[in-house]
Amino acid sequence: MKRLQFLLKDKLAAASLSILVVTIVAGIFAPLFAPHDPEEVHMELRYAASSWEYLLGNDHLGRCILSRLIFGIRPSVLWVLAALAVSVGIGAILGFIAGYFRGLTDAVVMRICDVMLSFPGYVMTLAVIGILGVGLENILIAFVLMKWAWFTRIIRTSVMQYAESDYVKFSKVLGVSDIKIITKHMVPVSLPDIAVIASSSFGSMILQLSGFSFLGLGIQAPNAEWGMMLNEAREVMFSKPEFMLAPGLTIIVVVSAINFLSDALQVALDPKLLASKYKLQGQGPASTARLQGKEVA
């Protein structure tokens, strides 16, 4: 709770957090927020400019763009979030076991991860789509398959570095059980690292999903999805470029909000960085670069 207060003192972080909260709430309660049915066709309103009734105008089939953006939150953000949660979950469990207990388990888990990581990501996704067929859920499955190994690796490295510290040694000497050491020491100290890598790859996963939808491999029409909306606007890219704007800007705003938040999170979750921040007001987080540098797109 205290950490959340610190986080909210940072204006950029507070703004990013509110954007994300609004996005997620709007996505969950999409039917309440959307002014129209996102799939309702009005051929007479094709490419209509924004009006009071249709705030962001209408697309090539006369559908309400605002409603489609709001319904698009579900596949573009919420499902990506779910896939992220599953892969981070798997990564955290395996990473904690491998990094804390070391030995044979570690060696086996790491070799499996090495094998998984030696497949090129995009090719894997395309292969999964080739086998399971086109569709949102298959892309999400491919995401989980590709990302868990990467999360496992990073979390294991982070856990390993903390597992060797003297306060863990001291707990072991005291006779504290491994489970307790993991929950009381390891999880809190590695949480900032996990939050930062998870949030930074959240942004890139949203972009990737939109990319695949743009290529027509993701969710199928007439469902709304941001990448697909971009694709639909592509046909009139030169005659009516403003139709790219709504989905394009939405993606940029949401992904940037996630990235800003991920930077701020690292500071807020680390008492040491937090202290230095209050002494040297306005200095950026120095160590965010450390883990983010390892991001694979």
Binding site: A107, S165, D166, Y167, K169, F170, S171, K172, V173, L174, G175, V176, S177, K184, H185, P188, V189, D270, P271, K272, A275
Partner: protein, 247 residues
Amino acid sequence: MLSVDRVHKSYIKGGFFSKEIQQVLTNMSFECGQGECLGIIGESGSGKSTLGRLLLGLEKPDSGSVLFEGNKVEDRRARMGNISAVFQDYSSSINPFYTVEQALMEPLKQQSRDYQENQDKIDLLLHQVGLNPSYRKKYPHELSGGEAQRVCIARAVATEPKCILLDEAISSLDGSVQMQVLELLKSLRKIYNMAYIFITHDIQAAAYICDRVMIIRNGEIEEMVKIEHLKDVQSAYARKLLQMIIT
């Protein structure tokens, strides 16, 4: 109380599949009695910290045994609150997310006491190591080296253990603070009547606080002497070590 019997320890050098073995400790046998302060002196790389990890039950010896009151020290239940430790690196000895209070709470939670008793105990411990109660809410990065090490010592004595292992506990502090911490350790020993195993490469500090010192070299016991007889050590290596300090 703590007895070490023909302990050998080696590490596999290089990667996981490597076969090269480095022998770190060979055939170590000694005992540390109740309330005794045993110094372990040796050069860097002689295996002092390794021996410390074995004594604390953090690692298992390849052969031989380390027994605490007859039970194997690797067994978590045998050492539960009976053995404690202070490490060299005070900056990583306290979880950076814990306040001093939370750090002291950890060992206290191992014993079944109620909330108020624990709070009183924290005040008492802080007082005993010469810190006032305002330190309770501080985070480790807000403490100086000497203060952090005092907190570590308070944490180590919290469960009133029978034995505390101090691995280079004063080595990273500067001169006058080293002396203060040594005095503190001496006074705590009077209060709690604990045994100390004092690992160091500083013979003077060892001579100041220990009853007996064990000199080790390349993982073997070179000599074991009572502190009164430190002047007339037998082995050539121990002589050389002493000479370096006197001159």
